[in-house]
Amino acid sequence: MSRMKRIYDWFEQRLQIEGPVREAVLHKVPRNTASWWYVFGSAAFTLLILQVVTGILLALVYVPSAAQAWESLNVLNHQIPLGWFLRAVHAWGSNFMVAVVFIHMAQVFLFGAYKFPRELTWTVGVFLLLLTLGMAFSGQVLRFDQDAYWGLGIGVFIMARVPLIGGQLVHLLLGGPIIAGATLSRFFTLHVFIIPGTLLFLAAVHIWMVLKLGVNEWPMPGRVVHRETYIAEYNKLAHDDGIPFVPGAFWKDLVFSGAVLAAVFVCALVLGPSGPGGQPDPSIIQTVPKPDFPFLWIYSVLSFLPPSLETPFILIAPIAMIAGLLAVPFVASEGEKSWHRRPVAVLALTTVAVAWAVFTHLGMYTPWSPHMNAWSGDPIPVRYLREATPLVRQGAVIFESKQCRNCHQIGGHGGERGPALDDIATRMTPDQMRFKVVTGGGNMPAFGKNLSPPEIEALVAFLETLHPANEPPAADAAQRAIETGGGAPPPVGGHSY
């Protein structure tokens, strides 16, 4: 007996682990589950381990103190050799993990894998998703910079809307009256102990159930799940047309996990760590806070809600979404698994995916946010002011100095909160402009109190010139009729409103 074998036996005699491992490794899975579609779960777990390892390494240096966290991150970035790289791997690992977990969930949903007897696996998976998002959010707070500060502020304001106990919840969340040292300690505890501990435990439960219940078979149209017969059918399938999990299916898991890790490293190398951004000093208000990628869609949704829906939506929507996810396997625990026979499921998934993509995309360039510096930074294009009368020029100055530009684009620059004004004169008559400027309406504040009548006249004179050369400005038909001597019918096809 070789020396290695003797050592192995010495341990095996005490650990007795060979049996269970062999069983797990060699258990048969239906042949066609050895597919590239089935690799996301294991990749998510690999990323979790990567996050644990890099997280521990970062914790060697990071200081969870409101006074020093930001500096310690800068030390990591700039003074400790390859500290930036570890931060980058941790940040990109987080992005990838959120993405892979979502893809895994979408795939499981599409393949009907949550049906009997795997309902609980799905339920645990929903909590794993929530915990992953919890990690992403608390991680963003630990990157204690301006975005973290104000992003957490948004969380606080959402909490505060809970009826009756909102105030108490805020105190609990912050560990005090404001975002400060106690808050960071709390989020450190959440991010480093509570959430990852729960995450690892639930991931173990999740994987245990996958091993016990078997990998979901490839859905076939017509192969319907019945509670009474499914287990026997599955066992027969795995037995008759099955292959041992290792190596048949597992090699793809390994290759994909390796590829994902490589992608994380490449992103980290090329794109670097995220932040830290500005100092976490609330008195520095020249900031445009923005959440991390996984939460951009929430940021967008929050800016589109009408004020009256705000509180009900913020409070009900998350609960409804989570309840909906948890209900999935209990509403549809039997029946067809194939997407060919589940149009509602496919439609629901597509809708969610498209909505998510649209909102995330909007969240990336935030058309609803005023451009705070546009009024002083973006000049009026010269072509709009050539041959302009003094009054028109004065109007252009007022347009800039009254910050109209922060919300309205001209010449492709400026905010996008309101419409671009390059051809406003074709859409509004001078009277309509005057009315809108003075009284506001919709998303436009009223400027009546801030502009003197001459200023309004100048501004409108400027706006009146904003129309393409070949398109006449809009005119009030009645007025035109009076001006042209009365009685004349309004010109057909004019831009009168």
Partner: protein
């Protein structure tokens, strides 16, 4: 289950061909259905641990709930400086140190707010936080508007809502003037659920002086 078997002493038969049967008897006697001293003792053990657990949970919950306190425990009057620092008719950014701090709070206890002085003794002090979701609003004196960088909330000079997602105007702090100093009652992040909610947003006519703490 045979009561005679149950009374057998399993130790007697722990070896030999009858060992299997004896073990079975023993396990029957220890099965959950049986009433025995061992089961009673086990239950006693569980009860003891439950009791100790509850006894420990009380201080732990008390410890965890520590930050949940009355507003008065966090708030107090802080000075924003001499009233003369705020010109009449203007809105200025001011900073104060929040009253409730820890040594490791760093810069986070430097809280900004806007002071609007309408007349020699008429002030309104606005929170920096947008009433929508708390982002820091910026004051633009030229257009007399507060604009929020987050979701495009806009407020007029008097703090009332002009446009965007906020459902209400800016939060205000209760204020007073003592010995030429402008003081505000501050200490918490103003949100829809603490005292800020009770504060009337002054329309230009009926300004401040409200007993905002209800």
């Amino acid at each position: 289950m045979n009561p005679d078997e149950r009374s057998d002493n399993p130790e007697k038969a722990s070896t030999g061909p009858e060992a299997g049967a004896a073990r079975e008897q023993a396990s029957e006697r220890d099965g959950p259905a049986a009433v025995s001293r061992r089961w009673l003792l086990l239950k006693a053990g569980i009860a003891l641990n439950g009791l100790v657990g509850v006894a420990m949970a009380i201080p732990i919950i008390r410890y965890l709930l520590w930050p949940v306190r009355k507003d008065a425990a966090y708030n107090s009057w802080v000075s924003l400086g001499r009233t003369s620092e705020f010109p009449v008719g203007e809105t200025r950014l001011a900073n104060f140190r929040t009253p409730w701090t820890r040594p490791w709070d760093g810069q986070t206890d430097h809280v900004p707010c806007y002071v609007r002085r309408e007349g020699s003794a008429q002030f309104t002090v606005f929170a920096i936080n947008c009433a929508h979701l708390g982002c820091p609003v910026r004051w633009f004196p030229q257009s007399q508007l507060f604009m929020c960088p987050c979701h495009g909330g806009v407020y007029y000079a008097d703090g009332s809502r002009a446009s965007g997602p906020p459902e209400r105007g800016l939060f205000t702090y209760p204020h007073r003037i003592t010995g030429g100093n402008l003081e505000i009652d501050a200490g918490q992040m103003p949100t829809l659920s603490n005292t800020a909610k009770l504060t009337n947003i002054a329309t230009p006519g009926e300004e401040e002086g409200c007993s905002c703490r209800g």
